[in-house]
């Protein structure tokens, strides 16, 4: 089977994100970059499907030239090739991004045949627009399910599970289809050393993205007020036990 996974280069989470003085960009001075967590799971899902069913997985991103790093990372954990849609003018809005990706997919499919599955992350870790996957699916006229926490393939059908308020929803989609993967569907593997070394040799194609800006424009970024956490020492040694019990009762675990 042929799978395409679309990923986005985002600042690595886990630390305070600073914003530039003009409020227009994330201050990247101290930041590492990574792939959005949902998309890391999409890459893992693709890797597992290929392991089960054979075939080829391609990873695609639209972003700055440095986003090649994320393509190579995906290659180090099982993706076969990469496609980079390089941008030089900052963050693209969801509409424009979707249009450019759609055009790229059409070009890739025209050359090598249709992708059975196109996987997106449920939403990006930075801007969180929840839009690109669904816009691409709509433009390609393919069925889509978002929020996938389970994915199997059986002949020409993709079986998708997702969590609902009470229980699980199950979908069956005729392929080719588009799936929005949600974190938790799997535990993404780390690259192996061999994987990392092989990824340096992976083929990464560059396609020039072209699309008109959409309607969503950034006004300003602001950081929410920091929640100050304070450590209260309940005591030392066995004498602390009653106070610990009080807290456990208070938060309802006892």
């Amino acid at each position: 089977m042929r799978i395409l996974v679309c990923v986005k280069r985002v600042p690595a989470p886990g630390a305070r994100i600073n914003i530039t003085a003009d409020g227009q960009e994330v201050d990247t001075a101290h930041l590492a970059f990574t792939t959005s967590p949902h998309e890391e799971c999409a890459v893992e899902a693709a890797a597992q499907l290929i392991e089960q069913h054979g075939g080829e997985a391609t990873v695609l991103t639209l972003g700055p030239g440095e986003a090649e790093e994320q393509l190579r990372y995906a290659a180090s954990v099982g993706m076969h090739k990469g496609v980079l849609l390089p941008t030089t003018d900052g963050e693209w809005d969801p509409q424009r991004t979707a249009a450019a990706i759609t055009a790229a997919i059409r070009e890739l499919e025209a050359a090598d045949g249709a992708f059975d599955l196109i996987l997106f992350g449920n939403e990006s870790a930075d801007s969180g627009g929840f839009q690109v996957g669904i816009r691409v699916a709509y433009a390609l006229g393919r069925p889509m399910v978002n929020g996938a926490k389970g994915l199997t393939v059986d002949g020409g059908t993709a079986h998708v599970q997702r969590e609902a308020d009470a229980g699980r929803e199950t979908y069956e989609l005729p392929m080719p289809a588009v799936i929005g993967i949600k974190e938790g569907i799997n535990l993404p593997r780390y690259p192996t050393m061999k994987g990392r070394l092989a990824s340096k040799k992976a083929e990464v194609a560059t396609l020039a993205p072209a699309a008109d800006p959409g309607g969503l424009a950034k006004v300003v970024l602001a950081r929410p007020a920091e929640k100050k956490s304070e450590t209260i020492i309940l005591g030392h040694g066995p004498e602390a036990a009653p106070a610990v019990v009080d807290v456990l009762e208070e938060i309802g675990v006892l």
Partner: protein, 853 residues
């Protein structure tokens, strides 16, 4: 949120391995009312300790580091946080096997158990290694992994529980306040985000942040944060199955500058092979901005990739292991790869305990604690780590980055004891530089000074003195050396030579209190007539060597201290630190204004007689008119000069001092006057090694260290001056002990009986702490636990032998005693040729003190 106390006796900043152990040791030494602060949380505030690989390979060629590493390991053992797993350094290149022989030698010196093993034996210990690509291993069974965070916690809590220490985590230092009174700047308070602490003692143990904290007080701690790449890969079946944190010895893949250390089910792979990557202390992210910690930055994979390939080559199983954790870990590098310890020269009572690695942390903490308590460390001499060693140009970021970039990839490198720096050269040049360069001088670096080690223009002397100038067969012995040195030596002994000594430091002291001040600083009396000189030890309070130097009395209230390039910074600190504050003595560093030429040899007097005058009158340069040890102002072809009749090479002659701007003319004048006697420029190879060792003259930092006293060094005079001086009480005690039971060790000169190796090559120990052993190969250790080791080694061309200097315990310090020296793991027979300081060459100093015939 708790506020800090308003006052404290001592504030230690930084709760990594060093800060924690420092408060622990200070508490043991009786300090109370201490405060320890760190901007990060405990037990891991986010500095380099938190991500250290924590292993200890005890072998080091550097005596100071070897001692502190072994001592630290013992402290980790004492606190129950030392996990012994053994360690193997493996060789891929033949040159590395030679280095292993050298490591075996150092291990012998310091009493470290070690052995050389074959690839098959490596495989037995580490079954997953690819033995086909290695040539052998250097196995140290005592290699261990320590829990540095737990060690720090235990030391810190010990001080807390004793009621001597209060600890404040998550507390950021905003300022260190100082005040300047009578020209002396001292620390007064530490300002934090939780309040201000008045204190008159602050220690900076902030690792990579130390420079910016020191800067708050106006002091300079020269180091740079630098990246060490490390990845944790796993799980790996064989390691998981071992069911142990450490089931296998740590491997150091020396020729790829890489290590593999088990960490339970996974392997830590670390590298010193990548390009040097530095970061400014101000650019390090805060704890809040760091996903892992401020010193655990994201791995830059491109730099690490070649190491992965090499690691897989050595251990194939690593290839399929997942990279779970990978960092550009920050650690501290200094321009000379040594720690930065002691009181900052800029600010009194502001201490640095910086650029220290986990392997030597507890030992160095103890050393600094002793320094703060007793005025100088007791456990070992710290001169290599002393913060005062740096000259101004060595404290710049320019210098730090250049030198660190040069030595980073030598972390696992094979570094020759005589190895020269390639970067930051030409920083300080004498006025004779152009002449020397034209003569083919091969320049060695002396703390920025370019000093000719020998002159290619003297190559003809090799043919003239074929026996003395025998070539060295082994490349290692011949590296950074030339037979021309021995030719220059012979020529100087037979004719006359001129030596550029501009790298000397000249410190002038003037004023009514000068004599009393200098008498307090020195062992030998400074109360000599104007125009005379003093050679004297300078002692620590405990009676060990802090320095040795020469002082000229230029006027009733005017003295000039002359000391060498390698100790100038430390001596300047020590003398100015003790300067009276009442204005009775002024200090002037004249170093940059004065150049010096040594003129020595049987024809030195004839040379100088031609050109030295007093105004238009010829000057009497005979021993009668200008005796040994005298200092005189003269004219040399009209150039005002100060001549000092003395010699460090055992020849008749002078050190001639003049102002820098007169230097070139002075050089040319002496050269021209000496032309009829075939005067030759002579390099430092003669001055510092061959000439010196034939005379048995001691050198600070080699023979002279704070662990030894003047009695042991053979430098005690018959009488002790009545004036009080630093170290007097301890010195008197040492003399008393020597009288009743003999000194614990005596400096001796040993002569090599045979230099022939088993493979039939004549070898020449380089003087890198090679052990002196009994004829049957046992280590020699004195009653104070100090091993006998070579402090200087060198050719003695005029005695047709090869000499070694070493301290020996009294039972071996007997002339004629047969012993051995181990060099490159092979033992050579030696004989004790001289006990004490009487020279082997010209024992009565006739050449220096009588007119040449």
């Amino acid at each position: 949120m708790s506020e800090v106390p308003a006052t404290a006796k001592c504030v230690v900043i930084g709760a990594g391995i060093v800060g924690n152990c420092l408060v622990g040791h200070l508490a043991k030494l009786g300090w109370t009312d201490m405060v320890l602060i760190d901007k990060g949380p405990l037990p891991n505030p986010g500095g380099s300790t938190g991500h250290a690989s924590n292993f200890i390979f005890p072998t080091d060629h550097n005596k100071e580091m070897a001692f502190l590493t072994v001592d630290s390991q013992n402290q980790y053992i004492e606190y129950g946080v030392n996990n012994t797993c053994g360690g193997i350094e493996v060789a891929r290149e033949p040159e590395r096997l030679e280095e292993f022989n050298r490591r075996m030698t150092s291990a012998k010196t310091y009493g470290i158990e070690a052995s050389l093993i074959t690839p098959a034996e490596v495989k037995e210990l580490v079954p997953f290694i690819n033995e086909d690509i290695i040539l052998g291993g250097y196995y140290t069974p005592t290699v261990s992994v320590v829990d540095s965070l737990q060690m720090g916690t235990l030391m810190r809590e010990e001080a807390v529980n004793a009621g001597k220490l209060k600890v404040f985590a998550n507390t950021e230092v905003h300022d260190i306040e100082t005040e300047t009174v009578d020209g002396i700047t001292r620390v007064t308070a530490v300002v934090t985000d939780k309040g201000r602490i008045e204190t008159d003692c602050v220690a900076i143990a902030c690792g990579v942040w130390s420079p910016r904290i020191a800067e708050m007080a106006g002091a300079n701690i020269p180091l740079t944060p630098a990246v060490h790449q490390m990845a944790d890969v796993g799980p790996i079946e064989v390691l998981v199955e071992s069911n142990k944190e450490l089931a296998y010895p740590i491997i150091r893949d020396m020729d790829t500058f890489c290590y593999e250390r088990q960490s339970a089910g996974s392997m830590e792979v670390g590298s010193y092979a990548h390009r040097p990557i530095f970061m400014h202390p101000d650019e390090i992210p805060s704890n809040e901005e760091s996903p892992l910690s401020p010193t655990e930055l994201p791995l830059t994979y491109d730099d690490f990739d070649p190491q992965m390939e090499q690691a897989i080559e050595l251990m194939e199983m690593l290839g399929d292991a997942e990279i779970k954790y990978a960092i550009n870990g920050l650690l501290s590098l200094t321009p000379d790869a040594m720690p930065v310890l002691g009181e900052t020269p800029e600010v009194r009572n502001l201490w640095s305990a910086s650029a220290v690695w986990v392997k030597e942390g507890p030992g160095i903490a103890q050393l600094v604690a002793e320094w703060m308590t007793y005025g100088y460390p007791r456990m070992c001499d710290p001169h290599g780590s002393d913060i005062a060693r740096f000259y101004e140009h060595e404290k710049t970021e320019h210098h730090i980055y250049a030198r660190c970039a040069e030595h980073f990839n030598k972390t696992y490198g094979i570094v020759h004891p005589r190895e020269q720096w390639a970067s930051q050269r030409g920083m300080r040049r004498s006025p004779f530089y152009a002449r020397e360069e034209a003569l083919g001088a091969v320049f060695f670096d002396a703390r920025g000074w370019e000093r000719p080690q020998w002159y290619e223009s003297n190559a003809d002397l090799v043919e003239r003195y074929p026996v003395a100038c025998e070539a060295r067969e082994h490349e290692w012995d011949a590296r950074w050396w030339s037979p021309i040195i021995n030719g220059e030596h012979m020529h100087m002994r037979e004719h006359v030579g001129m030596v550029d000594l501009t790298a000397f430091n000249e410190f002038d002291f003037e004023g009514p209190g000068t004599l009393a001040f200098l008498d307090r600083m020195t062992v030998n009396s400074c109360n000599v007539p104007v125009g005379r000189s003093i050679y004297t030890p300078v002692l620590t309070a405990d009676g060990g060597f802090r320095s040795d130097l020469t002082i000229m009395r230029l006027g009733d209230q005017h003295f000039r201290v002359i000391t060498g390039a390698f100790d100038g910074g430390r001596d300047k600190y020590w003398f100015t630190r003790n300067l009276p504050t009442d204005g009775s003595v002024t200090f002037t560093d004249k170093t940059s204004g004065i150049c010096t030429i040594g003129v020595w040899g049987p024809k030195a007097q004839a040379t100088m007689a031609k050109i030295v005058t007093s105004q238009h009158q010829p000057y009497d340069v005979t021993q009668a008119g200008f005796p040994y040890g005298a200092v005189r102002d003269v004219l040399i072809d009209g150039v005002p000069c100060t001549m000092f009749r003395i010699s460090y090479v055992g020849e008749n002659g002078w050190e001639v001092y003049t102002k820098m701007e007169h230097g070139l003319r002075l050089w040319d004048t002496i050269r021209d006057a000496g032309a009829e006697f075939d005067i030759r420029p002579v390099g430092i190879g003669v001055y510092a090694v061959t000439g010196r060792i034939e005379k048995g003259y001691r050198l600070m930092g080699a023979e002279l260290e704070s662990e030894y006293n003047p009695v042991e060094a053979g430098l005690a005079r018959p009488k002790v001056k009545s004036a009080d001086f630093i170290g007097k009480e301890a010195y008197l005690k040492a003399r008393q002990e020597a009288e009743t039971s003999g000194p614990a060790a005596i400096m001796c000169t040993l002569s090599m009986d045979s230099q022939m190796s088993a493979s039939g090559i004549k070898r020449y120990p380089v003087g890198g702490n090679e052990p002196i052993v009994t004829p049957d190969g046992n280590r020699i250790v004195d009653s104070h636990g100090r091993p006998s080791r070579v402090t200087t080694a060198g050719s003695a061309p005029s005695l047709d032998t090869y000499l070694l200097l070493a301290y020996l315990p009294p039972e071996h310090a007997v002339e004629g005693t047969k012993l051995g020296v181990v060099y490159m793991n092979e033992q050579y027979p030696v004989t004790v040729a001289r006990v004490g300081s009487q020279p082997l060459f010209d024992p009565n100093d006739d050449r220096m003190k009588t007119d040449p015939s």
